[in-house]
């Protein structure tokens, strides 16, 4: 690890515009610094900023960027109204990491592309213009939507997939003032040269995540995640789904996919096609086809397209069946008994 200057920001005003890399929970940044992928000259510790509230606002919630992932997953308001968010959080990382990781840091975490994580491999995201080591390589964790020859990495967050489905908005403060961006559009898609523009300008910081009222979808929302082992593994593909069903017909629908692109992939065409339809496997199958429209393998990962369709169908089925009173023992898992939905 490179030597760095360390400074702690006590207030948001001190953090905004500060030069250096922001340190919150540290679970991703310190790891990347240890392996030489990140080498900031200066760390600005924002872990003590007073952004730790989860407050009800306008029927929804406003979540401080320093709320820990475990705190967010346990929050009674989240469990009652946004259960797919809790399920997504609990399906990610380990209990120890969730106790340290922050909400803002989860959004800002780097891709787990193994070529990005290997300083000896070419990587346009880490070292613009050097090429993409993942092309023609091991691409199980790589994109099938929205990728270019410049970069085929995926965003690894589970939390962001649920947030995108729930129409969450990222609140940002910076030297030029405050702005808001939809979670589903926050992470840039790659361009022909590489990862695309950074989601935050220099000195900008995520302060909150805002969630609108889910209304009748509150108790019909699930997260489903396929991974190589049932716990403590990143998604190969995942899906967050939320539905409102009246008299057997779908009146509101949300669907977002994880593990398939450089951002959580919101499936608006599929959502539109669900409206007014009966909540049946046929309807969900058609929606899943639309959700993966335009998908193409970025390597030997064509199977991910079929898997993502199936995971989307399962998430919609589970959402239609209703969220269980208590989240299952194995959150978001496909491999469990009836108790697991």
């Amino acid at each position: 690890m490179n030597r760095f200057e360390y400074e702690r920001a006590g207030t948001l005003a001190e953090a905004i515009g500060a030069e250096g890399a922001f340190l919150a929970g540290g679970t991703n940044l310190l790891d990347l610094m240890k392996i030489g992928v990140q080498a900031p000259a200066r760390l600005v510790d924002i872990s003590r900023l007073p952004l730790t509230e989860i407050e009800p606002v306008e029927g929804g919630l406003r979540i401080g960027a320093m709320v820990r992932n475990s705190t967010l997953a346990r929050d009674p308001q989240v469990l009652a109204k946004y259960p797919a968010l809790a399920e997504a959080l609990l399906s990610g990382a380990s209990a120890q990491l969730r106790n340290a990781a922050s909400t803002g840091g989860n959004v800002m975490q780097a891709t787990r592309c193994s070529y990005y994580q290997d300083p000896l491999s070419p990587c346009n995201r880490r070292n613009p213009g050097s090429g993409c080591g993942a092309l023609g390589g091991e691409t199980r964790n790589h994109a099938v939507l929205g990728w270019t020859e410049g970069c085929i990495a995926t965003h690894p967050s589970d939390m962001c997939v649920a947030l995108a489905a729930y129409d969450a908005v990222v609140e940002i403060s910076g030297p030029e003032g405050a702005r808001s961006v939809a979670m589903a559009e926050f992470h840039p898609l790659p361009d022909a040269q590489g990862a695309g523009d950074a989601p935050l300008a220099a000195g900008e910081i995520i302060t909150h995540i805002r969630l609108p009222d889910p209304g009748a979808m509150a108790r019909h929302a699930r997260y489903v995640k396929l991974r190589e082992r049932t716990s403590f593994a990143f998604a190969i593909v995942s899906a967050a789904a939320a539905l409102a069903v009246e008299d057997g017909r779908i009146t509101q629908a949300r669907l977002a996919l994880g593990g398939v692109a450089a951002r959580p992939w919101r499936c608006r065409t599929a959502e539109a096609a669900l409206l007014g339809q009966p909540a049946t496997i046929e309807t969900f199958t058609r929606a899943a086809e639309l959700a993966l429209e335009g998908a193409s393998p970025s390597g030997a990962n064509e199977a991910k397209i079929r898997l993502a369709r199936k995971i989307a169908i399962r998430a919609l089925e589970r959402a239609a069946a209703g969220t269980p009173e208590r989240l299952p023992a194995l959150p978001a898992s496909l491999f469990a008994g009836d108790d697991n939905g």
């Binding site: 030597r3 200057e5 360390y6 679970t27 310190l30 790891d31 392996i35 023992a329």
Partner: protein, 164 residues
């Protein structure tokens, strides 16, 4: 530049002068304070061998920048037993052979103490296994570990019942 780090470790307030900001909490414990019970496995948050309680929450000490936790209360494996009397989780790991080589054991035990305090897994073995998934055991003593955590949960709730 020297940084003064204040930590309360196993109930004792300590001031540690750090000449380098890069030191992790794990290295402070092992190299500066001499508490080598907390183990360094992967050093990347993947194995759980370095698990300690920070302000009562289980975390990976290897991914905790020490300076970031200035003022925190740390509990390590050395802080669990009361004299010669083992903590119920320690006693249960012995009773149920919750280890073989023992390298991951301090992290397993600290993680289990955190899990039981969280109070969400209860006596459901599936929830215990899921809640302990951040601790790897290369000897694969998982069956014994699960039994030990379940017994310690029972024992600690019984103790709570008697003292209440």
């Amino acid at each position: 530049m020297t940084f003064n780090l204040n930590l309360t470790i196993n109930g004792t307030a300590q001031q540690i002068a750090l000449d380098d900001p890069r030191v992790t909490l794990l290295d402070v414990l092992r190299e500066r304070v001499g508490l080598t019970g907390t183990k360094k496995g992967c050093d990347r948050g993947q194995c759980g061998a370095c698990t300690v309680l920070i302000d009562g929450q289980r975390m990976n000490a290897c991914l905790a920048l020490a300076l970031s936790y200035d003022g925190a209360e740390i509990t390590t494996i050395e802080g669990l037993a009361k004299g010669e009397t083992l903590h119920p989780v320690q006693a249960a790991f012995v009773a149920h052979d919750g280890f073989q080589c023992g390298y991951c054991t301090p992290g397993q035990i600290m993680s289990a103490v955190g899990l039981i305090a969280e109070g969400e897994a209860g006596l459901d073995p599936e929830r215990v296994r899921e809640g302990m998934s951040g601790n790897l055991c290369r000897c694969a003593a998982y069956a014994g570990i699960t039994e030990a955590v379940l017994e310690a949960t029972r024992e600690m709730s019984a103790q709570e019942g008697t003292s209440a």
